[in-house]
C-alpha cells in the first residue's frame, strides 16, 4: 500500500472548522491539497460541539417555552418529549452539514485521506488507518488537529455513566440526576439544556466563579438563569468521592461549607481541553510546542518550521470555531505566498447559556489595565420593547469606549439573542467606529438591536429610554 507515496502541495491535518476552511481556500488558490481526518469530517464543531449542542439547546428551549406558555394564555396539555427522536433530528442536521463539506471537498478537488497522521520528517507524513498506511510527500503542512476534552483522574470517562460533551449530546433520555463537573462554557450550556429537558442538574466548579474569564456582571445574570431552573451550583468545590450503585452513582462534593452528597445518573466532565499534538511526532518536523502541548506560531500562523502552519484549538485558547476558521483562511493564504497576516482587532465569542452571553473586544478591566481612560455605559433589556414582548427581559448591553476619542473598545452583552447581536459591535471595532457612530445609526424598531444604539446613548449621557441624571 505504502509503496508509492501520494504527492501533495499541502496536507491539512484535521478537518474541523479551521482545517476544512483552509483546505478549500488552499484548493481555490491552486494548491494540490490532501486533507487527513482521523474521526469525522467537520471536527468537534460540527459533530460534537457547536452545531449539535445548539440543536439540542433550541429544542430544549422550545420545551421550556411551551411549559411557560400559559402566561400568554397558551395551555398545552399532554406534551410528550422524546429525547431519542430529538437526538435523531440533531443527527440529521449534523449529517447534512458534514455531507456538505465532503461535497465541497470533492468539487474543489481536495482529496480526503482517513486515518491518523504522523510526521516521518518535515515533508513526509504517514497516515495510519484500519485499511493500511498511506504515505504522503508534501511541500507544506497545515496542522489543524484541534483539541479534545480534558479528563479527570478520579472521574474516568467510560462513555456510559461518566461522559464528555460528545456522549452527553447523544443521550436519548434526559437523566434524572445530571452532575456537571466544570462550570465553564460547555458545562453551563449542556447543564442548562438538560435542566430544560427535566433533569435535576448540579454544577461543580473548582474556581470561585462560573464561566471563568467573563465579565462577572454578565455571569451574574446567567447565574440567575441557572437558579431559576433549579440548577445547584457549587463553587470552589470538587468531587471528592464517587460510588457506583446498581442504579446510578452517588457523589460526595467537597464544598467550602462541607461535604454534600448528590445522586447522579450521568456525570458530564467538562473541565477544559487538551491540544491534539502528541501523536503527530512534531519533533520530526521541527515544530515546537509550548509546555502544554500547543503548537507555537507567529503572527502569520507559521510554526518554527517555515513550511508548516498551525491554526485553531491546537495553537491554544480561546477555543473558538470561528477563530479557527479565520486562522484557516489566513494560514491558507500565507502558505500560498500571499502577503497577509492574522490582523483581527477583536475576536467575538458567544456562550449559549440562557440568557446568552456574547462579547467582543476589551473588558472594562482589560482596557483600564492597558492604561486607557474609558467611558462605560449599559442599557438593560428590560427597557427594550421587543425583549419584553418575547418574555426575555433579563440582561443588558455594555459598551466600553475610549474616553479620549470615543472609539468603541469592547461590547459585552448578556441577554436573549446576544450571539446574534454582537456582530454589529465586532464590525464597529474592526472599522474603528466611535460610540457616537453607533448611536447615530438608526436601528429598526422594535428589535433587540436597539439596545446597542441605546447603550451608545448611555455612554454619551443622553439615553431616552432610561433615566440618566444630568451631570
Amino acid at each position: 500500500m505504502a509503496d508509492t507515496p501520494k504527492q501533495a502541495d499541502v496536507v491539512v491535518i484535521g478537518t474541523g472548522p479551521g482545517g476544512y476552511v483552509a483546505a478549500i481556500r488552499l484548493a481555490q488558490l491552486g494548491k494540490r491539497v490532501i486533507a487527513v481526518e482521523r474521526e469525522a469530517i467537520g471536527g468537534v464543531c460540527l459533530n460534537w460541539g457547536c452545531i449539535p449542542s445548539k440543536a439540542m439547546i433550541s429544542a430544549s428551549t422550545l420545551v421550556e417555552t411551551i411549559h411557560g406558555a400559559s402566561i400568554m394564555g397558551i395551555d398545552v396539555k399532554d406534551m410528550h418529549v422524546d429525547v431519542g427522536r430529538m437526538k435523531a433530528w440533531k443527527d440529521t442536521i449534523v449529517k447534512r452539514l458534514t455531507g456538505g463539506i465532503a461535497e465541497l471537498f470533492k468539487r474543489n478537488g481536495v482529496e480526503m485521506v482517513a486515518g491518523d497522521a504522523r510526521f516521518e520528517s518535515a515533508d513526509t507524513l504517514r497516515v495510519k488507518s484500519s485499511s493500511g498506511d498511506v504515505v504522503i510527500k508534501t511541500k507544506q503542512v497545515l496542522i489543524a488537529t484541534g483539541a479534545r476534552p480534558r479528563e479527570l483522574p478520579n472521574l474516568e470517562v467510560d462513555g456510559e455513566r461518566i461522559l464528555t460533551s460528545k456522549e452527553a449530546l447523544d443521550l436519548t433520555q434526559a437523566p434524572q440526576n445530571f452532575l456537571v463537573v466544570g462550570g465553564g462554557i460547555v458545562g453551563c450550556e449542556i447543564g442548562t439544556y438538560m435542566a430544560k429537558l427535566g433533569s435535576k442538574v448540579t454544577i461543580v466548579e473548582l474556581a470561585d466563579s462560573l464561566l471563568a474569564g467573563t465579565d462577572p456582571e454578565l455571569t451574574k445574570v446567567v447565574q440567575r438563569g441557572l437558579k431559576k431552573r433549579k440548577i445547584d451550583v457549587h463553587l470552589q468545590s470538587k468531587v471528592s468521592h464517587l460510588e457506583h450503585k446498581r442504579q446510578g452513582m452517588e457523589c460526595v462534593i467537597a464544598t467550602p461549607k462541607g461535604d454534600v452528597t448528590v445522586p447522579a445518573d450521568k456525570i458530564l466532565v467538562a473541565i477544559g481541553f487538551l491540544p491534539n499534538t502528541e501523536t503527530l511526532n512534531l519533533e520530526a518536523a521541527g515544530v515546537e510546542t509550548d509546555g502544554r502541548g500547543h503548537v507555537r506560531v507567529d503572527g502569520r500562523l507559521m510554526t518554527s518550521n517555515p513550511n508548516i502552519a498551525a491554526i485553531g484549538d491546537v495553537i491554544g485558547p480561546p477555543y473558538l470555531a470561528h477563530k479557527a476558521s479565520k486562522e484557516g483562511m489566513v494560514a491558507a493564504e500565507v502558505l500560498a505566498g500571499k502577503q497577509v497576516a492574522l490582523d483581527v482587532r477583536a475576536m467575538p465569542a458567544a456562550i449559549f447559556t440562557d440568557p446568552e452571553i456574547a462579547t467582543v473586544g476589551l473588558t472594562e478591566e482589560q482596557a483600564k489595565a492597558e492604561g486607557r481612560k474609558v467611558r462605560v455605559g449599559s442599557f438593560p433589556f428590560a427597557a427594550n420593547g421587543r425583549a419584553l414582548s418575547t418574555t426575555h427581559s433579563d440582561g443588558f448591553v455594555k459598551f466600553i469606549a475610549d474616553a479620549d476619542d470615543d472609539t468603541l473598545l469592547g461590547c459585552h452583552i448578556v441577554g436573549h439573542e446576544a450571539s446574534n447581536l454582537i456582530s454589529e459591535a465586532a464590525l464597529a471595532i474592526e472599522m474603528g467606529a466611535t460610540v457616537e457612530d453607533i448611536g447615530l445609526t438608526v436601528h429598526p424598531h422594535p428589535t433587540l438591536s436597539e439596545t446597542l444604539m441605546e447603550a451608545a446613548h448611555v455612554v454619551e449621557g443622553h439615553a431616552v429610554h432610561i433615566y440618566q441624571p444630568k451631570k
Partner: protein, 609 residues
C-alpha cells in the same frame, strides 16, 4: 558654544531613511566644516555627509548597519573648537526617549544602538527572565536563570529576519555582548550580541529560518546575578549622566543599550490580538489588508478621513510616494512607541510581528505575486536597497503610466562628423565629449516646443503639471543598479559645460558616491542603451515624469538618399510616453523636431539655448 543635533538630512526625493554604512569620525574627533563624517546608503544611492560646522563630535547616535529615518539625530556636534562642558548634557536626551505611556518596568526599550558598541549595537537585546528554572545546572556552580531571548526590533519596518548564522551552539558559554547570531533582514545583516554572561541553553531556530521580530531565538541561561542585573536595569537609565563628565567631549553619552522586555510571550496564547500595536489606528479591515499587501505600515499613516481614519487612498498614496512606512511625521517616535507598548502589557504582547507588514518586498510589488516555485539549485538574493527601489519604481510606473513607445530612425552622419571635430577640440581641454550633450541640445528646444513632455500628472488634483525648468535625468548603469542623476536647468548650458557636469555625475554614480543633490527633481529622462548593443528598447518612464527617450547604437547602414543607396550613420531613438498626458501625434511631432536638429546639427545654432 552651541551643541548641534545633526539630523539625517533629506537626501533626496522620496528618501525616507538611510543605512549608516560607515562612520568616518568617532566621538571626540575634531572636524572641520564639510569634512565627511558619515557614509549613508539609501535606496537610491550611497551618499557622504559632511559636517555643517567646525567642531567636535560629541556623540554618534547610530551604529553602522543601522537604518535611520530622515530627520533623526545621528550625531551630536559641538560647534567650535574645544569641548565646553555643559552643553552636551542638555542634548543627550535619554536614548529610550522614555515613553510617556505609563509603562511598567518592562517597557524601557532602549533606542537601538545609541551606543559605543558598533557590533552589537543595533539590536536592543530583549532578554526576558523566565520564571521557570533553567534546563541546565541548577544546584552547584550557581544556578542559571533561563532567559528567552527574542529577535529584537532590528530596525524600523523590519518585521522579520532570517537567521543566517549561529555563532554559538547549545552548551556554549557566552559573555555579554558576544555576538551570538547573525540575522539578515531586508535592510541589513546584523550581528546580535548576548544580553548577559551565561550559557546557551537551547537554540530554537535553525539557520535559514525566518523569524518574526519578537519571536524567541534562543534560551540563554544567565548567571542569576546577571539576570537580576538585567532586570534591574529595565528601569530607564538616567540619561543625564554625561553632564557630570562632560569636561571632555562626552565620549559615549548614551547608556549602553540595556535590553528590556521586547515581547517574548507565547504567541499561541495571544494569536488574536495581532494588532494591539495599531489598535488605535482607524482603518477598516479591508484597508489594513490592502496596506499589508502593499507593504505600507498603516500605523504610521496620517489618515485623511474623519478623526484620522486611514482610507484606501491614503494607503495607495503612501505606497506611491514610496515613503509610506517611514515617511510619516516623527518617524522615529512612532514605531518606537508602537513597539514597547505591547511589550509592557503582559496579556497581549506578541502582537508586533503581525502588526507590521510581514515582509517588505511587497512594497516593490503591489499585490505581490505568489512566490515562484522552488527549483533545484535556486539561489535567492534578497531584494534590497537600490534594487528594491528600482523594483518598486518600475512597478509603479507600469501600474500608473499608460506606456506607448514611438521609434524613429535618425540619420546622424552630420552629427558624427561634428562630434568628431568637437571631441578633438575638447580633448585639448581635458573634456571627453560624447553624443549625449548633443542629444540634450536637441531635446531641449523640442521640450520647449512640446511642454507636455516636460510634465507630470497630478492625479489627485486632476491636473497636468508643466515644469518650468528642464532637468534632464541621465540613466547611469552602475554595479548596484541603475541610477538617474539629473543635469539641472539645462537651458543655456554649453556643450562643454553639459559634458563635464554629466561626466562628474556619472563618475560619482559609478563610484557609489552620488550626492543628495545629484538625484531627484528630473523632468525628462534620457537613457542610453546603445553602447552595449541591440536595435532598440522600449524604456520605462521614470515616474512622475511622463516621457523618456532611449538612445541606441549608431550603426552604418545602407540608406537611400536622393534615389541612391549610400552608407550613412543611423541611430534609433525610442520615445516612451504616458498616453494619459501625451498623445501619439504630439510625441511624433516632438520626435520630428529632435530628428531635424540631430540630422542637421547646424540648426542648433539657430536655437536660443
Amino acid at each position: 558654544m552651541a551643541t548641534i543635533d545633526f539630523k539625517l538630512p533629506d537626501i533626496g526625493e522620496g528618501v525616507a531613511e538611510g543605512e549608516i554604512t560607515s562612520w568616518k569620525v568617532k566621538a571626540g574627533d575634531v572636524v572641520t566644516e564639510d569634512q565627511i563624517m558619515v557614509e549613508v546608503m539609501t535606496d537610491k544611492a550611497t551618499v557622504e555627509i559632511g559636517s555643517p560646522v567646525d567642531g567636535t563630535i560629541v556623540e554618534l547616535r547610530a551604529a553602522e548597519g543601522e537604518t535611520v529615518p530622515v530627520g533623526e539625530t545621528i550625531i551630536v556636534l559641538q560647534e567650535g573648537a574645544g569641548g565646553d562642558a555643559a552643553a552636551p548634557a542638555a542634548s543627550s536626551k535619554p536614548a529610550p526617549a522614555a515613553s510617556t505611556k505609563p509603562a511598567p518596568a518592562a517597557s524601557s526599550k532602549p533606542a537601538p544602538a545609541a551606543s559605543s558598541k558598533p557590533a552589537a549595537a543595533a539590536p536592543a537585546a530583549a532578554p526576558e527572565p523566565v520564571a521557570a528554572a533553567s534546563a541546565a545546572g541548577d544546584g552547584a556552580g550557581g544556578s542559571l536563570e533561563a532567559i528567552n531571548f527574542a529577535l529584537p526590533d532590528i530596525g524600523e519596518g523590519v518585521a522579520e529576519g532570517e537567521v543566517t548564522r549561529w555563532m554559538v551552539k547549545a552548551g556554549d558559554a557566552v559573555t555579554e555582548d558576544q555576538p551570538i547570531v547573525e540575522v539578515m533582514t531586508d535592510k541589513a545583516t546584523v550581528e546580535i550580541g548576548s544580553p548577559v554572561d551565561g550559557q546557551v541553553l537551547e537554540i530554537l531556530h535553525p539557520e535559514g529560518a525566518v523569524v518574526p521580530v519578537g519571536d524567541i531565538l534562543l534560551v540563554l541561561g544567565a548567571h542569576s546575578a546577571a539576570a537580576t542585573a538585567v532586570g534591574a536595569q529595565d528601569a530607564p537609565e538616567p540619561a543625564a549622566e554625561p553632564a557630570t563628565k562632560a569636561t571632555a567631549p562626552a565620549p559615549q553619552a548614551a547608556p549602553q543599550p540595556v535590553a528590556a522586555g521586547v515581547a517574548t510571550a507565547n504567541l499561541s496564547d495571544t494569536g488574536l490580538s495581532t494588532s494591539a500595536g495599531d489598535r488605535r489606528v482607524r482603518a477598516a479591515p479591508a484597508t489594513r489588508r490592502l496596506a499589508r499587501e502593499l507593504g505600507v505600515e498603516v500605523a504610521l499613516l496620517e489618515g485623511s478621513g474623519p478623526r484620522g481614519r486611514v482610507t484606501n487612498d491614503d494607503v495607495r498614496r503612501a505606497q506611491a510616494t514610496g515613503g509610506a512606512p517611514v515617511a510619516a511625521p516623527a518617524p522615529a517616535a512612532a514605531p518606537a512607541a508602537a513597539a514597547p507598548a505591547p511589550a509592557a502589557k503582559a496579556p497581549r504582547p506578541a502582537t508586533k510581528p503581525a502588526a507590521r507588514p510581514a515582509a517588505a518586498p511587497a512594497r516593490a510589488a503591489p499585490a505581490a505575486a505568489a512566490a515562484p516555485a522552488a527549483l533545484e539549485g535556486d539561489e535567492r538574493i534578497p531584494l534590497r536597497g537600490l534594487r528594491k527601489r528600482i523594483a518598486s519604481q518600475m512597478r509603479l510606473s507600469k501600474d500608473t503610466a499608460a506606456h506607448f513607445t514611438y521609434v524613429e530612425e535618425i540619420d546622424v552622419t552630420e552629427l558624427v562628423k561634428l562630434r568628431k571635430a568637437a571631441k578633438r577640440k575638447a580633448q585639448a581641454s581635458g573634456v571627453n565629449i560624447t553624443y549625449m550633450p548633443f542629444l540634450m541640445k536637441a531635446i531641449v528646444p523640442a521640450l520647449r516646443e512640446f511642454p507636455l513632455l516636460n510634465a507630470s500628472l497630478d492625479e489627485q488634483a486632476g491636473e497636468v503639471v508643466l515644469r518650468k525648468d528642464i532637468n534632464l535625468g541621465i540613466a547611469v548603469d552602475t554595479d548596484a543598479g541603475l541610477i538617474v542623476p539629473v543635469v539641472r536647468a539645462v537651458d543655456g548650458k554649453s556643450l562643454m559645460q553639459l559634458s563635464s557636469e554629466m561626466a562628474e555625475l556619472a563618475d560619482r554614480a559609478r563610484a557609489g558616491k552620488t550626492r543628495p543633490d545629484d538625484i531627484g527633481g528630473g523632468t525628462f529622462t534620457i537613457t542610453n542603451a546603445g553602447n552595449i548593443g541591440g536595435m532598440f528598447a522600449t524604456p520605462i518612464i521614470n515616474v512622475p515624469e511622463v516621457a523618456i527617450i532611449g538612445v541606441h547604437a549608431i550603426r552604418q547602414r545602407p540608406w537611400v538618399v536622393e534615389g541612391e543607396i549610400v552608407v550613412r550613420d543611423i541611430m534609433l531613438l525610442s520615445l516612451s510616453l504616458d498616453h494619459r498626458v501625451v498623445d501619439g501625434a504630439v510625441g511624433a511631432r516632438f520626435m520630428n523636431r529632435v530628428k531635424e536638429l540631430l540630422e542637421s546639427p547646424a540648426l542648433l545654432l539657430l536655437e536660443d539655448i
